[in-house]
């Protein structure tokens, strides 16, 4: 059994310091790892990244994150990642990490993702250079997610993105902005691997639960959606943990 805590869109700045910490301090009793689905900061500044590291770093469980669109706002995303990495937080963008938990291997593959929309109402890689750049960016990121998911051999595989891979978890948002909230290419990437769970944020007015066309459970963990410090998901429920076996 593995328990994963997850939240996104916490938008930390100085005014948020201390709000999450009491609940985060309880994590070792509730989950084996914390995944954060982007928009860690408000404007993507180094100072805000330090605030996030103060609030979400130094926990007794591993913390794995992807960046979101807010974390790119100041064009300092590389420095933001460095601050987080220096504080012990694993930041994924087109790669994967493996956590050993009670004899089980948990794989987490992550990308920020991008927009584009979903089947029947999506942007095409056609026409003006700007449009081809937009959809081309989406396609490249989705390919990187596929490669990252397929790069690890694990017992449970989780896809971590900021943008949504399915439209079901956007229900509650205006239909007109779906193409700015996610894209089907991320869902296709998730379905190309033996993914057990897909987590995303970004859609503050969206819905909590959905599934990819291939049947992978999708959860929107944006903080305004889950309305608590984090959600906890249990994987490998029927698996026997090594540490519980008799000596």
């Amino acid at each position: 059994m593995i328990r994963i805590a997850a939240v996104g869109d916490v938008h930390v700045d100085r005014d948020v310091l201390g709000r999450f910490r009491p609940a985060l301090e309880e994590l070792p009793d509730r989950a084996d790892a914390l995944l954060v689905a982007g928009d860690l900061t408000r404007h993507g500044t180094v100072e805000e990244a330090r605030c996030f590291a103060t609030e979400f770093g130094g926990l007794a469980v591993p913390v794995v994150a992807v960046l979101g669109n807010h974390d790119h706002q100041s064009d300092q995303q590389a420095r933001v990642s460095d601050v987080l990495t220096d504080s012990g937080i694993t930041v994924l963008e087109g790669d994967a990490t493996v956590l050993e938990i009670r004899g089980h291997r948990l794989g987490v593959a992550g990308v920020k993702g991008f927009g584009g929309g979903f089947a029947g109402a999506c942007a095409s890689n056609f026409g003006e250079r700007e449009m081809k750049d937009f959809v081309g960016t989406t396609e490249v990121i989705a390919e990187r997610l596929t490669a990252a998911l397929l790069s690890v051999q694990v017992d449970a595989l989780v896809a971590l993105t900021h943008y949504a891979p399915v439209p079901e978890t956007l229900i509650g948002e205006p239909l007109e902005i779906y193409p700015f909230l996610g894209c089907y290419q991320l869902g296709r990437a998730i379905d190309a691997a033996p993914t057990a769970l897909a987590l995303h944020g970004h859609a503050h007015h969206g819905s909590e639960r959905g599934r990819t066309p291939g049947g992978v459970p999708v959860r929107n963990v944006a903080h305004p959606v889950i309305k608590q410090a984090y959600n906890v998901y249990q994987l490998l429920s029927s698996e026997v943990d090594l540490e519980t076996l008799p000596a």
């Binding site: 005014d15 609940a23 408000r42 807010h70 503050h204 459970p217 410090a229 984090y230 906890v232 429920s237």
Partner: protein, 83 residues
């Protein structure tokens, strides 16, 4: 009597909310007669107050009703089993 609240004004307010300082893309703005009703959730009381202050500063004639909440941050009491 407040300024006429039309869809151009609504768009300007939305633009203000996404400007660098506020950076809140998740706030809803509804026109109700001559009142703008603000909804959604933010991470702190300071952010909610700043949103109202900025709108009042930029559009002093506009009457606003603020229903913006602060997202709760307590630990969860349940675990969801994924299957």
């Amino acid at each position: 009597m407040g300024t006429q609240v039309d869809e151009y004004l609504e768009a300007e307010v939305q633009q203000l909310l996404t400007d660098g300082r506020i950076a809140e893309l998740g706030i809803t703005v509804q026109r109700r007669e001559n009142v703008l009703v603000l909804g959604g959730e933010v991470e702190s009381v300071q952010r909610r107050d700043e949103i109202c202050r900025q709108i009042t500063t930029h559009f002093p004639e506009v009457e606003i009703a603020c229903d913006i909440g602060i997202t709760r941050a307590q630990a969860p009491s349940e675990v969801e089993e994924i299957s």
